[in-house]
Amino acid sequence: MPVAHPRSIGELTELLDEESHTVLLAGGTDFMVGLNHGSTRLAPDDLIVDLRLVAELSTVEVDYQQQVLRLGAGVRWDDLLTAPIAEIAPCLSQAARTVGSHQIRTAGTIGGNLATASPAGDGVCALVALDATLVLTSSRGQRTVAVSEFAIAPKKNVLERDEFIERVDIPITEGWQGYSKIGTRNAMVISVAGVAVVLSSESNTCRIALGSVGPTVILSTEASQFAGTTINWEIASITSADLETVVEMTRASATPIDDHRSTAAYRKHAVGVLTKRLIEQGLTTLRKSL
């Protein structure tokens, strides 16, 4: 059971094509917890593929021509806290800031957060609201999948055995965006409920994503559309009755459960409160820049 250290996308693709029992390892912050506690087991013929030396996976590229921010899957939380990402995708930076501790943020990656496919993934929630797309790569070529379509159930995603997440493409938009999460303390918590809101003042659209209130992160489609059409974009305002409807639609799209972290009822309540706060905060900020 050796550990392989590919250094490029080419080497990685070839390795996954040749070897049939591979386990990908990025920052290890999800993977090692499973291994230490015995919920993940390695078979003797498993080959661990360490992704950390794959150069392309840690690149950050801002393409103003195509209006897209490209993040390699191996970009770590810590890297998301600074420019240019903090300026172009602030809700992703805000999400990153809430993840674990400094120790977790120096090791954990955005690719690992996506692949883990947890409904509580803070990065996933921000990326769904940002309408980001994943580039999945294998020896058969590349394909793109919307982040909102990537996770299909808790811990299940659409990756094939020989495929990996190469990068995430985030559209660059004008407007306002924010991420908020509720947990039992201010640091080191998996969210009880999380909400990301992106208000695009170019396309006059709103996208609301909800974390920890369903089997995967949820894009609240109806609420997003209703908000997009009822916000008066010229004056960056929404009537309180319309905002209440957005909140109710957000709650209606949530399908939370009771578990050791919280109750379904509280979670439904919380996503409504967070959505309302974020939209109000966003519109107030947009009004100031009119």
Partner: protein, 162 residues
């Protein structure tokens, strides 16, 4: 070309020395290798899930939980443990003198975290200290004296420079 390292027999670079690890079991964490294979018991283990920070070490200069590092995957990295600090850095002395150590179980991890925080942010605010050390749990001190200790170091370093 893709290099491969053996899962069970490998070499690690710790505190500037090469250490040969033999008969490591597959999937063993760096924490287990440090403590049980190499006898470097400074780093502590409590949760083995990244929550307590007592296993904190520097990996290529970055603060990480050694319980979340697959030992066989870091053969090409440099590891610094609390043993690598010696025993009398200003951070260590300030922890002792400020009463930031009671049972001492959390101290190696907190000292690594505080040392790393002050490298990244030489003059942190109280909020920055709290955020920087949020990944390290202490059952005894109530944290006040730990924050004091970090502030003592900041003050000493400032005085030393002026």
């Amino acid at each position: 070309m893709t290099s491969k390292s053996d899962e069970r027999h490998f070499e690690l670079s710790i505190n500037g020395n090469r250490h040969r690890v033999t008969d490591s079991y597959p999937g063993e964490s760096l924490l287990t290798v440090l403590r049980d294979r190499l006898g470097l018991t400074g780093s502590k283990g409590a949760c083995e899930e990244g929550e307590c920070g007592s296993c904190s070490v520097l990996l290529d200069g970055n603060l990480v939980c050694s319980c979340l590092v697959l030992a066989a995957s870091v053969t090409n990295c440099s590891v610094v443990t609390v043993e690598g600090l010696g025993g009398s850095t200003d951070v260590q002395t300030a922890f002792v003198e400020s009463g930031a150590i009671q049972c001492g179980f959390c101290s190696p991890g907190l000292i690594m975290a505080a040392t790393n925080l002050l490298e990244r942010t030489p003059e942190p605010t109280v909020d920055e200290i709290r955020e920087g050390l949020a990944g390290n749990l202490c059952r005894c001190t109530g944290y006040g004296r730990i924050i004091d200790a970090v502030q003592v170091v900041v003050q000493q370093r400032k005085n030393g420079r002026s």
